[in-house]
Amino acid sequence: MYDTTIINIVVYAKSIHIYIEQIGNNKKVRHSSEKIFILNDSYSDELLHDYIKPFTEDTPYYYVVMLDASLEQGAIPTCDKHKMSLYAELSTAKYICIDNKWACYTSQLFLEEEMQLLGEIGCDLIYSPFVVLKNFYADKTKGEIALYVFVQEHSLTLAVFKENRLLYGEYIDTRFEISPEEEMQLTADRLEESKDMDSQDDSIDLDDIELDEDDLNLDDDFDNLESLEPIEDLGDIDSLEDEDNPELQLDESLDAISEKAEELSNEAKDIERTSEDFKRFTLIQQSLSRFYNDERFESDFIENLYVADAVQLTGDFKRYIQDEMFLNVYIRSIEPELEICHLAKEELGLI
């Protein structure tokens, strides 16, 4: 009689993505719509509620689904209550066991805060990014050991799966920037690790790999930026008055300025994206290092990295990983809203 409406909400640092699917009695999608709310000064929760409310009023069978964005979340390679405390402090956390092999957890407090975002509309299902990652790469996680990374605008979800079993899981909020000292320490660690690996495996000549910052395109981009003329120098408006057709000259100059400004802006964005990708690469490297060094985790040599890309990573990211970590990188684009919608439909028996 009534359609089932699934309202999928993914909260990012600067925006909220909403994807709504209306499913008929024959389990076919009758209608879908998307909306992105930018979290600027003009945003308020009322706007979000006003957008969702009509969908909730159409049918009593509506389900609000969210992707967990809590800072204090993670995944542990056991489902045994007695062993869980070895990996994480779960006294104030909520956890669920997956396949009776591993568990993902989140802070109960953050969970309640996330649910409060929707006020009266409430929330029906909250999924961990680890579950999304596992389902997104369900065809790969059954196989040999590999590192899986779910890259979102403000976070990285890292998991090592081997034969459908999680060996390691970490959630990193990338909004917390790495200080230069940490970066230096990281570089030193990397060098040390490289030496260790060199001593272990002679087939790879690590000395040939230059870790010098000059090797990174990031600096090239910065150089390009510096080579650009300052905006003030792009056009001397006063000099236009001396020409025969001052209005035409002015228009052309303005067009040139806007083109240059756009070019500059795009380049700045590219630089920013490259910088973010480098930061992600660094964090992945750190995380992998923790996995290898921590005796609590059953470690094995990882050759493949599968990336679920929700941010359109630059080519540099893949290059960093391949060059620095010697991993085979496979990247698949992911739309988290669609993934949690798929999970919700599976859980509600709508597939």
Binding site: Y2, P60, I96, D99, L111, G122, D124, L343, A344, E346
Partner: protein
């Protein structure tokens, strides 16, 4: 497989507002029907009490009628008893007077007291004794007197004396 941290809320066809309205109407209807049922019950009880009162009234009426009939019967009985007592007194006096009338020489064997007469059976030594000592008083009381004699083997006479009052005399007796 459950992957969500939380369980979906139970979905119902009815919205919260509809549930509230239904609850309100349900309570209202319940109260209305309860009041109606209470009134029906009270009316039933009242009708039953009324019927009971009517029955009691009818019973009392019957009882009063029976009592009146009993009173009338008792009064009649009392009157009758009184009359019998009076009659008996009169009869007793009459019998006493009768036996006073009979002289010692005459023996009565049987006496029949009728409504308006007296029949005497007895034995007398002779007719003269009877005529002087018994017939004379009888003739003074009764209007008609007739006597029959039978000779006994021992020489005495068996007699049957039949005496009747005339109507006027009888009426006079009744008035008394």
């Amino acid at each position: 497989m459950k992957y969500s941290y939380i369980t979906p809320r139970k979905k119902s066809l009815l919205t919260k507002e509809a549930v509230l309205i239904l609850t309100f109407f349900s309570i209202s209807f319940f109260l209305l029907f309860s009041t109606y049922a209470f009134l029906l019950f009270k009316e039933y009880r009242f009708q039953k009490e009324l019927q009971s009162i009517y029955d009691k009234k009818a019973e009392l009426k019957t009882s009063i009628a029976n009592m009146k009939a009993s009173i009338a019967f008792i009064e009649e009985e009392a009157a009758l008893a009184n009359k019998v007592y009076t009659t008996n007194s009169v009869l007793k006096d009459s019998i006493a007077n009768l036996f006073d009338l009979v002289p010692d020489r005459i023996t009565l064997s049987k006496a029949k007291i009728l409504k308006n007469g007296l029949i005497l059976y007895g034995i007398t030594p002779n007719k003269d004794v009877y005529a002087y000592m018994l017939e004379a008083p009888l003739r003074s009381i009764f209007a008609k007197t007739h006597t029959s004699f039978y000779q006994l083997p021992n020489g005495w006479l068996k007699f049957v004396s039949t005496n009747y009052l005339d109507n006027e005399f009888e009426d006079f007796i009744n008035e008394d």
